[in-house]
């Protein structure tokens, strides 16, 4: 979904420097910073603290213990069940995005460890059609949860999604039902689900799996909400509060447990998961 395309990327900038360059210029402070240091710092500018965009692969790396990431399961691609064409064919849009990102769809799942605690981790990727949830995202989340249950590990989902994948129509909407249905298996097995909301966590993802964490953590700079600002502004003639749908809005209104800086996310997750190791 492109609902968010024209919105300001609060504190989030895609790193567009050519891949072979060792240095990049921070758009916020203007400093030339060593790319590897940025990577090692969870894509946070070492000079000014600005957050750069993090791909799903980069998040996997920055959260899991080095060398523990183990992708699993099959590679899945959408069937384009509606043979959908808008300004262009969905099939082409997907193929092009796959080529550009190296992803099959808007999520990566894998096993790994965080400070030694085994987990199953799912990371959504906003670059893939706005991180929208279609058949593949729904299926991969389901498989990740099933793997967590089979291995008796906690499950972590890092959301970054504009919502449903419009191009898959009702198949997309029903992924909300699907992920929530499978999520119950974790609860029945007494295994924890930690939901991490980043920029943006909205629409059908926010209104299903992402809101059902036993613990819900928001990354600083996250956008959290159901309806898009534009939709709300069009429906009602209300002035939106300044911090509307920010992580502090969500915290103030009781929707999330904690706000963490990206640099601290890994430690934070280890701390949270620690309580559940060996529980029930």
């Amino acid at each position: 979904m492109s609902l968010f395309k024209e919105r300001q990327y609060l504190r989030v900038h895609v790193d567009r420097e050519p891949d072979d360059s060792l240095w990049m210029k921070c758009k916020s402070c203007g400093e030339l910073v060593f790319k590897r240091r940025v990577r090692e710092n969870s894509n946070v500018c070492p000079s000014c603290g600005e957050y750069f965009f993090q791909t799903s692969q980069e998040r996997m790396e920055s959260i899991l213990d080095p060398g523990t990431y183990e992708p699993f399961g099959e590679r899945l691609v959408t069937d384009d069940p509606l043979s959908f064409v808008d300004s262009r064919a969905y099939r082409e849009r997907v193929a092009e995005t796959q080529a550009k990102t190296g992803l099959d769809d808007a999520i990566l799942i894998g096993r790994g460890a965080i400070e030694g605690i085994p987990v199953v981790l799912g990371v959504m990727d906003f670059r893939f059609i706005g991180g929208s949830m279609g058949s593949v995202v729904g299926e991969q989340i389901s498989r990740a949860i099933e793997a967590a249950v089979a291995d008796r590990r906690g499950f972590i989902l890092i959301s970054s999604s504009g919502g449903a994948r419009i191009q898959e129509g009702m198949f997309s909407l029903l992924q909300m039902a699907k992920t929530v249905t499978v999520r119950r298996r974790l609860a029945e097995a007494g295994l924890p689900f930690v939901s991490v909301m980043t920029y943006p966590t909205s629409g059908g993802v926010e209104a299903s799996i992402a809101s059902l964490g036993d613990i819900i953590i928001a990354e600083k700079g996250a956008m959290i909400g159901f309806a898009g600002r534009r939709v709300i502004e069009q429906t009602i003639a209300e002035e939106l509060p300044a911090h509307f749908q920010t992580e502090s809005f969500a915290l103030e209104h009781g929707q999330i447990d904690r706000v963490v800086r990206r640099e601290d996310l890994r430690t934070e997750l280890a701390l949270a998961l620690g309580f559940f190791v060996g529980a029930r």
């Binding site: 996997m60 069937d79 058949s135 029903l174 909300m176 699907k178 249905t181 159901f226 309806a227």
Partner: protein, 323 residues
């Protein structure tokens, strides 16, 4: 092709002729009969080949029967229960107990208004967090007492507004989904008009999902899709087709379990006939589900939603690996 209004005018003319015939004693009966035949043919043409967009318009028709109309005609003894016990009472989602063919059921219905007054009260049929949390309460009540749960879905979507976000509307919808996924009673949902995205699905994760013939059910409104995907609101017709949001399409895609027939031109042309068909379908499905053992019912529901989606497995190749 002739449109609905022209046909309505023609019908009115025929009625005038019939009255003239009766009063003046001049015999127009043959001419009237011929006109009636013609009208029937035109109507058949118009409605039996409805485009998706025409169905969208019927689904939103201001004269279309709403939830409370069906609650009055299909059920008996409706006993409304109000309030979420937390914040308020959302009049856009009515809830209560009722009897379906004598059997007590828990009932949820999304309710639009007809007048400006009513629409103000009913928030144009858009459900707020208060409504979803009231629905949750009814789900829990249904489970406690073993009442089957029936949802009548008719909303353009959950209400988008500041208060909705403040009251965690996304979380409320998610919680309803989680509750319905595990609810230990039979559940039937019927889209009676508009099935608007997450706002509809929130009370629609059921064992049987039915649609009235001219209802729609979609991840986004055609207008919303047109604005986002075509950058052009005027292309809603195209979007309506592309999204396959009508009952026949969704049945064909295997996403719903049945289509309840409507009279030519839509439910509002003959509400009584529509109610009868709705009642027949509800009674049948509730009876069927009630005969299934609970563990099997839950297992079937699990499989249904676990397996929804269309994807293909890609052959593993060298490009895959750790980052």
């Amino acid at each position: 092709m002739t449109d609905e209004r022209t046909l309505d005018l023609l019908e009115a003319k025929i009625e005038e002729l019939r009255q003239l015939n009766a009063i003046d004693g001049m015999d127009l009966s043959k001419e009237i009969a011929r006109l009636e035949e013609k009208l029937a043919v035109l109507r058949q043409d118009l409605y039996s080949n409805l485009t998706d967009w025409e169905r969208v318009r019927i689904a939103r028709h201001p004269k279309r029967p709403y939830a409370l109309d069906y609650i009055a005609s299909v059920f008996s003894d409706f006993y409304e229960l109000r309030g979420d016990r937390i914040v308020g009472d959302d009049r856009a989602l009515v809830a209560g107990l009722a009897r379906l063919d004598g059997r007590p059921v828990a009932l949820l219905g999304q309710q639009k208004g007809r007048t400006t007054e009513e629409n103000k009260e009913r928030f144009f049929g858009m459900t707020r967090p208060q409504g979803y949390r009231k629905a949750k309460r009814l789900m829990d009540l249904a489970e406690r007492f073993g009442f089957p749960l029936v949802s009548l879905i008719d909303t353009s979507g959950a209400y988008p507004g500041v208060e909705s976000e403040e009251l965690n509307i996304g979380g409320a919808i998610a919680e309803n989904l989680e509750t319905m996924a595990g609810l230990r009673v039979p559940t039937v949902a019927v889209i009676i008009g508009e099935g608007g995205s997450g706002g509809a699905l929130a009370i629609g994760l059921a064992d049987r999902v039915l649609m009235l013939e001219d209802a729609i059910y979609s991840v986004i409104t055609p207008e919303g899709a047109a604005a986002i995907l075509w950058k052009d609101k005027e292309r809603a017709r195209e979007a309506a087709t592309a999204l396959q949001m009508t009952a026949p399409h969704l049945l064909n895609l295997g996403l719903i379990d049945g289509v309840i027939p409507e009279p030519l031109g839509g439910a509002h042309k003959n509400p009584a006939v529509t109610s009868a068909a709705l009642k027949e379908a509800l009674v049948r499905h509730v009876n069927e589900l009630s005969a299934i053992r609970l563990d099997q019912l839950l297992a079937a529901r699990y499989q249904r939603y676990r397996n929804v989606g269309r994807y293909t497995t890609r052959a593993a190749d060298a490009s895959r690996g750790a980052p």
